[in-house]
């Protein structure tokens, strides 16, 4: 990082007062919910040891509620902690959750899949300006340079259908849609080129399963890809099995993915996994008019059908 004149893209997107006002609103509400006994736990974020980082926190006392924060480091989709995969958290009783707009879509998806009940949940929505990208230099403020790719195209800065909105959405500049551009670039390639693009990425996969473990929708108690009688996907981290795994993952999330891009953020090998999810979302919108939204839907696009669905590809 050069210390010469501040480049245009390092100008903070919002002033620091925004973060403290959202933080204060979350703390106040969390404190109230916990001291009144309305909930037994608030799932939010607290600051990490390293500057600029934040991590999921489960506050169970008003004192712990005072430690909750909202900062550009609050990258996690906390909906993960309400799924079957994280049973321990649910055991704590009725919970409140801090949710950004993108996280709300995941909550809606989980409600649609009967994994959650709205009435059993208090949602503290965040008027969100965006969060850091996975490789951002967290010593810098949130800027066009440090913001996550998904946030550049966010359509849900202001949360809806929540019990309380923390903060208010500041004026935000229009940012270029990098991910959409990347998707278009891939779509314009020949199949052979796309194959080369993806297999290069997949060949670096170490099968750490971070993409699966952070996904709110990968809540199956027995993942298809862990099964070995019969084995659907080879488990060794070799290019062949890796490719199969990521294709299967993409398929199992098609029509369910809420677009939080946690898989991509969690990937230690920088595989642009959200491109796969986004492509599928785009196709399912085109084919069946489905779009992940803030309102729960009873059935996903691949769980229902219409008799007049397109079948031009079938002979």
């Amino acid at each position: 990082m050069t210390n010469t004149a501040q480049k245009l893209d390092t100008i903070p997107l919002v002033d620091s007062g925004y973060w403290s006002s959202v933080t204060e609103a979350i703390r106040t509400e969390a404190e109230r919910l916990l001291s009144s006994g309305e909930v037994t736990a608030v799932i939010g974020y607290r600051a990490g040891r390293r500057s600029g980082t934040a991590l999921p926190a489960i506050a169970t006392s008003p004192e712990q509620a005072r430690e909750l924060v909202f900062s550009p480091g609050c990258v996690n989709n906390l909906a993960l902690y309400l799924t079957k995969a994280k049973k321990d958290v649910a055991k704590k009783g009725k919970v409140a959750i801090v949710a950004k707009g993108c996280d709300l879509k995941a909550l809606a998806g989980l409600m649609g899949e009967s994994q959650l009940k709205r009435e059993e949940l208090v949602i503290i929505g965040v008027a969100c300006a965006g969060v850091y990208g996975a490789s951002a230099d967290r010593s810098l403020p949130l800027s066009e340079e440090t913001i996550a790719r998904k946030c550049r195209e966010c359509t849900v800065h202001a949360p809806e259908g929540v019990d309380l909105t923390a903060g208010s959405v500041p004026a935000l500049p229009q940012l270029s849609p990098e991910e959409a551009e990347e998707l278009a670039r891939l779509e314009a390639m020949t199949p052979r080129e796309r194959w080369a693009f993806w297999t290069e990425h997949f060949s670096r996969c170490v099968r750490c399963m971070a993409c699966r473990q952070v996904c709110p929708f990968c809540y199956c108690e027995q993942c298809y890809c862990d099964r070995n009688r019969p084995q659907g996907v080879e488990t060794s981290p070799r290019p062949a099995g890796n490719t199969a795994w990521h294709i299967v993952r993409g398929m199992h999330l098609a029509g369910r993915c809420a677009g939080c891009a946690e898989c991509e953020r969690a990937c230690p090998m920088d595989i642009p996994l959200n491109l796969l999810n986004r492509k599928m979302a785009q196709e399912l919108k085109e084919l069946y008019g489905h779009e992940a939204g803030i309102a729960p839907k009873e059935k996903g696009p691949l769980a229902e059908y219409r008799e007049d669905d397109d079948q031009s590809f079938i002979k």
Partner: protein, 334 residues
């Protein structure tokens, strides 16, 4: 008289080694990351960034074939992998935290049974270490008894000089041989001053004190506290230079295929799952406890070493922000 090598000559050394048929592995640009990968030429070497994955791969591959089998008319034939075919390797620009790892792992891979796959690769690999002059806030090698200038584990050790180039130190006989063999590329260090080593921040850890706490606290609320957040992925273990758990699997068809050994992680839910369905470590708190205990207690009990070099990779990679240094700090203060 200490030796030095210019950056240009370091790259030339790589070119020369490659030309002579060695596999040279070093930090290389891989998409948005830097990874330890085989270098085709010296110019590919990236000196500015700590590779995302550790260098343990050079000895303990992500996935390797340990035998092949074929079923024929006369029954099953099992073919060995000939370790003579493992390539002679030079690992270049290895950070002290990575260079220290094989010295730790030697113990487990030679405990009664020699794992020839590891040993043979170890024997055939020379390590050219590189002192760190830059650390980030995840680095904590000094807290676990190493340092950015630690030469232990390297055969040849490079320290960046203020005017460019590197001071060269032969740490082992292997290193001396390298130095002698390619003497034309090394010069006299003269009066050039080495750059000051990086200074990883953070509290120093008293590992004996941590061990004592672990000895006494198999049951502790700490484990559940961490497990509440832990997503149960293997990112930490797979980036770690010292994690050595692995899985063995058969792949291929009924008629022919390979048996493969590949990295595994104790954080995975099914890691210890019995065929009966009984799972000794059936909850994430038990699994995280095992990870930390293995690193700072069990391995110490068995081999007198701890399975951590403070590289900070797990801290950077954890998708839910679990920071092993913060956990150790907490234990240290108890």
């Amino acid at each position: 008289m200490p030796k030095m090598i210019t950056e240009q000559n370091l790259r030339a050394l790589i070119d020369l080694l490659v030309k002579e048929g060695s596999r040279v592995v070093g930090p290389k640009a891989a998409g948005t990351m830097t990874l330890y990968e085989p270098l085709a030429a010296g110019e590919e070497l990236v000196l500015t960034e700590l590779p995302r994955r550790s260098a343990k791969e050079a000895f303990f591959p992500l996935c390797e074939t340990i035998l092949t089998y074929a079923k024929g008319e006369e029954g099953v034939q099992v073919n060995d992998i000939d370790p003579a075919r493992f390539p002679e390797t030079v690992l270049v620009a290895v950070r002290p935290c990575d260079a220290a790892a094989p010295g730790i792992l030697d113990a487990v891979f030679s405990w009664d049974y020699d794992d020839q796959f590891y040993q043979e690769r170890r024997k055939k690999t020379a390590i050219i270490g590189l002192a760190c002059t830059k650390a980030d806030d995840a680095c904590f090698c000094t807290a676990v008894g190493l340092s950015p200038a630690e030469t232990q584990g390297s055969d040849l050790f490079l320290t960046p000089l203020s005017g460019g180039g590197f001071r060269v130190e032969a740490v082992t006989e292997k290193g001396e041989k390298l130095l002698a063999r390619y003497s034309q590329l090394f010069g006299e260090a003269g009066s050039a001053q080495p750059l000051p080593p990086a200074e990883p921040g953070g509290e120093k850890l008293e590992l004996a004190r941590i061990k004592a706490w672990l000895d006494a606290n198999f049951e502790s609320p700490l484990w559940q506290e961490i497990a509440d957040r832990c997503a149960g992925c293997g990112a930490c273990a797979f980036l770690c230079p010292a994690c050595h758990c692995f899985d063995i699997n058969d792949e291929g068809t009924e008629a022919k295929g390979a048996r493969r050994k590949s990295w595994d992680a104790c954080g995975f839910a099914k890691f210890t799952n019995h065929a009966s369905g009984h799972n000794p470590r059936d909850a994430q708190n038990k699994r995280y406890r095992n990870r930390l205990m293995h690193k700072f207690k069990y391995y110490d009990d068995k081999f007198g070493k701890h399975l951590c070099t403070g590289c900070g990779r797990c801290v950077r990679a954890c998708p839910v922000g679990i920071d092993i240094k913060a956990v150790l700090d907490e234990i240290n203060s108890k």
